[in-house]
Symmetry: C2
Subunit: 360 residues, 2 copies
């Protein structure tokens, strides 16, 4: 039996998931990568992509795809003000806390620091109707003590603020190579250990994380079954077998002290479906996916009619196959943090709850 959960966090977990406790979540909070994709599609300089271009595309994605999700993640800058009125009624709302991109730091500028969005905070997000806050933390356990402490500290701060408002804290952990290319055998070898290490670190209770949003703990393009170019027709070195990859997924699940979901990190839909199947087979409670679902639709920009049609057609189909692939995911309430639906204990459940329970 797990630790008691506050009723406010319980209610919001119920809203982020479906009736079976599974998360089928949509991410539209991309900013830098979205503007790059729009500029490529329109053959324009990124500086020529206007605020309204980005806001309108995000609005279209929200309108067409949020009804398929249990929860949708948007950003407070381009997303919220122009998307909230088309967000599906029964879709929970996640708002992102960090700025797009990162700040380079440490020896040789090879470390990454998360930048929090200025003039934005958890209180504002609560008032705006957020059910959960998403924070992206770049992490490697082997960065300078300064960078590690910095990343750990902002995570702890956000966790404490979420706790004060009983908003869910969804922490996205992203590791990265120091020298190797992201798409390299070297990083493919390094990644499983890095993902497990950061999952261990941020599972510590003082971060107050409710849901971990994790990278797939391997690079499937470098796994024996797919190294022949299965996803992008490019052959690569096979650095592990699929049984090893399954083992990495189990290690992540062992390390995750709270329910976790798998992120898509810009891989295409076929690779992401494999990620979902493997992660959910090992204990993930669903996914939080963006580009793998809708990136081909925004390739039609600036033709918004075509964007819209592609979202309703191909992207919606992508979403449905992701939902199917995640059918076997572990309900959040069956994660060891809770045990089972019947074992959940609500904090301060008593006649004096309304008195004992403190305001933020």
């Amino acid at each position: 039996m797990g630790q008691p959960i506050s009723p406010g966090k319980f209610r919001r977990l119920q809203k982020l998931s479906d009736g079976k406790g599974q998360f089928r979540m949509l991410a539209i909070d991309q900013r830098g990568s979205m503007i790059k994709a729009l500029s490529r599609a329109a053959d324009r300089d990124p500086d020529d992509i206007t605020y309204q271009d980005t806001a309108q595309v995000k609005r279209l994605i929200t309108q067409i795809l949020s009804p398929l999700s249990t929860a949708t993640l948007i950003d407070p800058q381009y997303g919220y003000p122009y998307s909230i009125d088309v967000m599906a009624r029964d879709t929970a709302l996640l708002l992102s806390r960090e700025e797009t991109g990162y700040e380079k730091a440490g020896p040789g500028n090879r470390e990454r620091r998360t930048i929090l969005t200025k003039d934005w905070n958890i209180e504002k997000a609560a008032r705006a109707g957020a059910d959960a806050i998403k924070l992206l933390i770049y992490y490697r356990a082997d960065t300078s003590a300064e960078t590690s402490r910095y990343q750990q500290q902002i995570c702890q701060d956000v966790g404490e603020q979420c706790l004060r408002h009983d908003l869910l804290f969804l922490l996205e952990l992203v590791t990265y190579p120091f020298e190797a290319a992201s798409d390299s055998a070297q990083f493919a070898r390094e990644k499983p250990g890095l993902v497990v290490e950061m999952t261990v670190e941020f599972s510590k209770p003082h971060y107050h994380v409710d849901i971990l949003k994790l990278q797939f703990p391997a690079e499937l393009k470098y796994a024996d079954r797919f190294a022949d170019g299965a996803f992008d027709n490019r052959k690569r070195e096979a650095v592990y077998g699929i049984a090893e990859v399954e083992q990495f997924c189990r290690e992540v699940h062992q390390a995750a002290a709270v329910p976790w979901v798998i992120l898509s990190a810009g891989v295409d839909i076929q690779e992401f479906l494999e990620n979902i199947r493997l992660a959910c087979g090992a204990g993930a409670s669903g996914f939080l996916c963006g580009r793998a679902i809708w990136s081909t639709a925004i390739d039609h920009f600036p033709d918004l009619t075509k964007v819209e049609r592609s979202l309703a057609d191909e992207s919606a189909r992508n979403f449905r196959v992701c939902n199917d692939a995640a059918g076997t995911s572990l309900p959040w309430y069956s994660h060891p943090r809770f045990g089972s639906r019947d074992e959940i204990v609500l904090a301060q459940q008593s006649e004096s709850w309304y008195r004992d329970f403190s305001a933020s």
Copy 2:
């Protein structure tokens, strides 16, 4: 075109209503009247009805009927701690701000003052996941200046606090007779004017009300069509015709500067259905109903198996006929406060929304 609405309030209006902008809401926040009903049913002294008796009955009602509602109103004392985990995922949450009952005041102790629940506030409700706050204000325009000011002031305070959190403020207005019995020709004559007067008062913008929960502005048992005992086999004097009653409803709609819903105030289901039809025909946006739907089920207390069966059977049927009767209600966004769905203007909709928007 109406005044701009904050996106947080917009989102919560969307959650309180269905896809057509109609409110089909359930009230389970009765405390004093619930305990009385349980004691009558069990033939026990009200003091012998335990906290757990009341909490368990409320939990059953929430579990079985909340899925039929767009929003459910519970109280923070007996309701929330033992009901929140069985509240339907897609049902919005209203929490009540006031204590059950009222304090007698003024000349001859014939005036009523609302008592706010101590150690409970809007901040706590927001943290607990409330989408809206309900406050019940007893009112007559002809009370002593002291009582009027008192009632107006607590209403304004709650309105301002809701605004700071962008929670919806649902104000329930209940008028009452000074001397006459509630069930009397005298009060039946007085009621239409009293209901319109208080609707005018609390429609003033400084109260920041988002939804008015109003009494039916007449007593149908004293209307010509029903005075022969149509609802309870008791004949009464006919003090108005049905055309006059329809006119009272139109006057309420004219007076209500914000969307309004009709309350059931303990009348039985047949009378409430007539109330719904007449109110919704005049411009109400739905209903917020308690006892008319579930009172016959709790007559089976202390046999909880029978209570449960009756809730699933007769009460659910009552709810469905109420939903049908409210089918013609005015979508909230079509109320003159907004004009139409397409005319709604979100406040501070701009690139700098997340900066301009202030925390509570």
